[in-house]
């Protein structure tokens, strides 16, 4: 049942750091976060790690496990072959604060740059009528738990600090898509803005973001690609653009 495991944990801060080897016991059914907690409680009382729900719902425990961006609370220890070392390091795209904790404020700044939802002025609370099928498209994107793994993996910013200024990242492309597809949202030009102000054009559809998303949101297929396609459409055909916005209001009684 319980077995000894070798774990390599990155320890350090903004100035300096490196991998530390530890041996830790692992029980059946445990996830990587369990191991980190055990190390914390028995060997390294000041080991820094973020977590909350331990059930893949809050997106706090994001880190890189053997180089891959993952949620530590949803990564089964048994998914690694016996004898394989497990290496945990902080998210690479964001500055380290300490150990496994990084400064993810970039994402909160980007959230601030996306124009908010605009409710129809004359639609009183309780009067909205929407079809399930129409809300589902946006609901897929609202499943996002803001783990920022997609932001971390995206090569546009992963090793290119200079791109961060003009690139919102996949998490916020789906936010824009969500609002764009929201049956009631009144703000126009969301797609154009994504292209012109939030760096949609810098994405070259590698799909890495979709691959790491723990919520299995089809970031590229359902958000990025449709937006890119329609941006092109609209550039050439303003009438069609108008039509899409009018259709969007059909849901309102």
């Amino acid at each position: 049942m319980a077995r000894k495991l070798k774990l390599r944990i990155w320890r350090g801060d903004a100035t300096d750091g490196g991998l530390k080897n530890v041996e830790v016991e692992a029980n059946d059914g445990e996830v990587v976060l369990d191991l980190i907690h055990r190390v914390q409680a028995t060997q390294m009382g000041d080991l820094a790690v973020r977590w909350n729900c331990k059930a893949g719902k809050c997106g706090s425990c994001s880190m890189e496990i053997n180089g891959k961006p993952r949620l530590a609370c949803m990564t089964q220890v048994s998914s690694f072959p016996e004898g394989e070392e497990i290496t945990v390091t902080p998210l690479r795209a964001f500055p380290v604060i300490k150990d496994l904790v990084t400064d993810v404020s970039f994402n909160y700044r980007k959230a601030m740059e996306i124009p908010s939802y605009e409710h129809p002025k004359n639609l009183a609370p309780g009067e909205a009528r929407m079809e399930q099928i129409d809300v589902e498209r946006s609901q897929e994107f609202r499943k996002c738990i803001e783990c920022f793994l997609c932001q971390d993996v995206c090569h546009v910013v992963r090793d290119h600090e200079e791109n961060k200024k003009s690139f919102a990242g996949p998490r916020f492309f789906i936010r824009i898509a969500e609002l764009d597809m929201h049956p009631l949202d009144m703000l126009k030009n969301r797609k154009q803005k994504a292209q012109e102000e939030h760096g949609l054009g810098m994405c070259n559809i590698t799909k890495c973001c979709t691959e790491v998303c723990p919520e299995h949101i089809r970031i590229t297929d359902n958000a990025i690609i449709p937006m890119k396609e329609r941006v092109v459409d609209v550039k050439y055909d303003p009438v069609r653009w108008l039509g899409s916005k009018i259709r969007k209001r059909e849901g309102i009684v």
Binding site: G29, E30, V31, A48, K57, C58, D99, G126, A128, E146
Partner: protein, 627 residues
């Protein structure tokens, strides 16, 4: 003390869950400057984990629903120990609070007519829970978070500064609520990132810190649920009410051990899931209490028909209030009819097609598949009780959410007491957060009109700073991780789901002993993001909460809702007239009995008199409510 970070605000909201964020929005709407402080990143508060839904009698699925029915269900669920006024406000205002979320961009699941869909839940007479699959809490918190961002964008447009009126201080722990001359003057805390200290000066503080689950060994709560607000309020001179009542949710995961306690939403039962023991018996039929006999089906045929025709059949007993289901599961396991890992079976696979399960319960499917290797569309889940919610909390004035006894202090959400009586109905928390979060915001607005400023004295600052420094200056003392584990063991074994007077007495002694040792907790490492240091403070709070719970549990010699005494198994109408009030004298928690506010006639008259006879004394029945 040269470089202490200082801020001045009108309101400091401690907590960025549903309650805190709703309070902040309300205070901001009145033009106040608000600081929102939370221990985690913005958007990660416990509320994010809520699954099933938010209860509001919108009547979208069954037109017969209205606030009166919701009020009755809430009082019944709480076994009539609820503060009637809170239950009344909650039932009346919940629909508006849900609709308002839609105005802010929330996307709930829909009915065929395009309205907000509502689902069945334990103890609710009609389908009442607005939901988004089984991730309703995420929708709620994201909507509130995005509402705050929208307001900040508006401020940026108007004043050039997005944080001119609302600023979120994420990953900052409040360690003290400060008073001057008997009134609130601010709050003190430290940044988790670097341990640096922060002073907030403000005439009002709204506590919205959520629950206490981490006091217990098996819990559905995250690390944040350490009862900070409960303890901060006690220390600031406020009271806690009815801390003996804890909700043990009947269905937590039991296997593998590392996920023990993680919640399995009640929607699984609401959608048709049934509970069976190791003999394959659908055992809940045996556990329908007398008071619920006329509302719950006593045979399988009727229980099954109810899903299709709710008007002519009684509800399946799987949907009894949580305390009843938890006790039943506990009894089955004790009698040797449990599963291999000490739970019972919960099964949806035989009643609902796989694709519907995946659509209606996506995160449950995910959770079991990834964490337990169980495919719930094909197999049964193993489940057992887990500590989930605290009904007890800060004693407040219902209309304003003002904490009784401390001018300028407010409390809303799970940290506030009274609303849910001895047992909370599922879905009533999310709506509670919105209803009383808003009211706390309004309460603060009114208070600030008369008390616009506050200043904290140098002495208070020095004291608060000394407390934070203390664990670093002790050498070789106790380890906070092991003390926490010991406390969890005590609460789990001695003040858990079933209690006896003797056990609780033992718990009180043991908690006191751990508390004495906790005065010697020493912290290794520095101040920079140091979980050992963080836990030292959380531990202190959990110990006060545990003491309050144990002492209240000892006094209440009956079984009711989330308090089951093996030595007093019955419910007594005498005890229904009593709230237990905890206060803190600087050394110990003291608990005293206080009469429950009598229910006014117009609310009394909403009930069938025969139902009230099951709960109230003959004198109360004759009196027929107060006027």
């Amino acid at each position: 003390m040269t470089s202490l970070e200082k801020h001045k605000y009108d309101v400091v909201v401690i907590g960025a869950g549903g309650a805190g964020l709703r309070a902040a929005v309300e205070a901001r709407a009145a033009g106040l400057r608000v600081a929102i402080v939370c221990k985690s990143l913005f958007g990660k508060a416990h509320t994010v984990m809520a699954e099933g839904g938010a209860a509001a009698s919108m009547g979208n699925v069954n037109e017969k629903d209205n606030w009166q029915v919701h009020f009755r269900d809430t009082m019944r669920g709480g076994k009539f120990l609820n503060h009637y006024r809170m239950a009344e406000l909650h039932a009346k205002e919940s629909p508006d609070r849900i609709w308002e979320l839609e105005v802010w961009g929330a996307l709930f699941d829909r009915t065929k007519e395009g309205k907000i869909s509502q689902r069945n839940f334990g103890g609710h007479e009609y389908p009442r829970l607005a939901h988004v699959g089984d991730r309703t809490g995420l929708e709620l918190i994201r909507t509130m978070q995005q509402r705050i961002v929208a307001l900040q964008q508006q401020d940026a447009k108007e004043s050039g500064n997005a944080e001119s009126h609302i600023k979120v201080f994420a990953e900052l722990t409040i360690t003290e609520i400060l008073k001057e001359n008997g009134k609130i003057a601010g709050a003190y805390g430290y940044w988790r990132e670097n341990g640096n200290e922060v002073l907030f000066e403000a005439p009002t503080v709204i506590i919205a810190t959520g629950g206490v689950g981490k006091t217990f060994k098996i819990t559905s709560n995250s690390w944040e649920g350490t009862g900070d607000g409960h303890a901060l309020a006690l220390k600031a001179g406020a009271n806690l009410v009815d801390m003996e009542f804890l909700q043990f949710h009947p269905t937590g995961m039991v296997w593998p051990p590392s996920v023990r306690g993680i919640l399995v939403t009640e929607s699984v039962r609401g959608e048709g899931g049934i509970l069976t023991n190791s003999l394959g018996e659908r055992f809940m039929f045996k556990y329908i209490p007398e008071v619920f006999k006329d509302k719950y089906a006593d045979n399988e045929a009727e229980a099954d028909r109810w899903y299709l025709d709710q008007d002519n059949n009684r509800r399946p007993p799987e949907l009894l209030p949580r305390d009843e289901v938890s006790r039943a599961i506990n009894a089955e396991v004790k009698a040797g009819r449990g599963t291999e890992h000490g739970g019972v079976y919960l099964d949806v696979s035989k009643r609902i097609p796989a694709d519907v399960i995946k659509k209606r319960l996506p995160s449950m499917w995910h959770q079991f598949y990834e964490l337990a290797g169980v495919d719930i569309t094909k197999e049964a889940m193993e489940v057992g009780p887990t500590c989930h919610y605290v009904m007890g909390g800060v004693e407040v004035e219902p209309d304003t959410a003002a904490a009784i006894g401390v001018p300028g202090l407010f409390a809303a959400g799970e940290v506030a007491g009274g609303m849910h009586g001895s047992n909370r109905l599922g879905g009533n928390s999310l709506s509670d957060l919105l209803v009383f979060g808003r009211r706390a915001g309004m309460g603060a607005v009114e208070y600030v009109k008369k008390n616009p400023t506050a200043t904290v004295s140098e002495k208070a600052i020095a004291d608060a700073a000394a407390r934070i420094e203390a664990p670093f200056s002790r050498a070789g003392g106790e380890n906070s991780y092991s003390l926490h584990a010991e406390l969890q063991e005590v609460t789990h074994n001695l003040v858990g789901i079933i209690r006896t007077g003797k056990e609780v007495e033992e718990a009180i002694e043991k908690i006191a002993a751990i508390r004495a040792r906790s005065a010697n907790v020493a912290v290794a490492g520095g101040r920079q993001f140091n979980p050992g240091f963080h836990l030292a403070f959380d531990l202190d709070n959990m110990l006060l909460v545990a003491e309050s719970t144990a002492k209240s549990a000892l006094l209440r010699e009956e079984s009711r809702g989330g308090h089951t005494r093996d030595d007093f198994p019955g419910m007594s109408s005498k005890w229904r007239q009593v709230n237990h009030i905890s206060s803190f004298d600087g050394k110990n928690v003291n608990v005293k009995a206080q009469p429950l506010p009598p229910i006014p006639k117009e609310l009394f008259d909403l009930f069938d008199i025969h139902e009230l006879e099951k709960y109230m004394t003959p004198e109360e029945i004759v009196k027929g409510g107060s006027n």
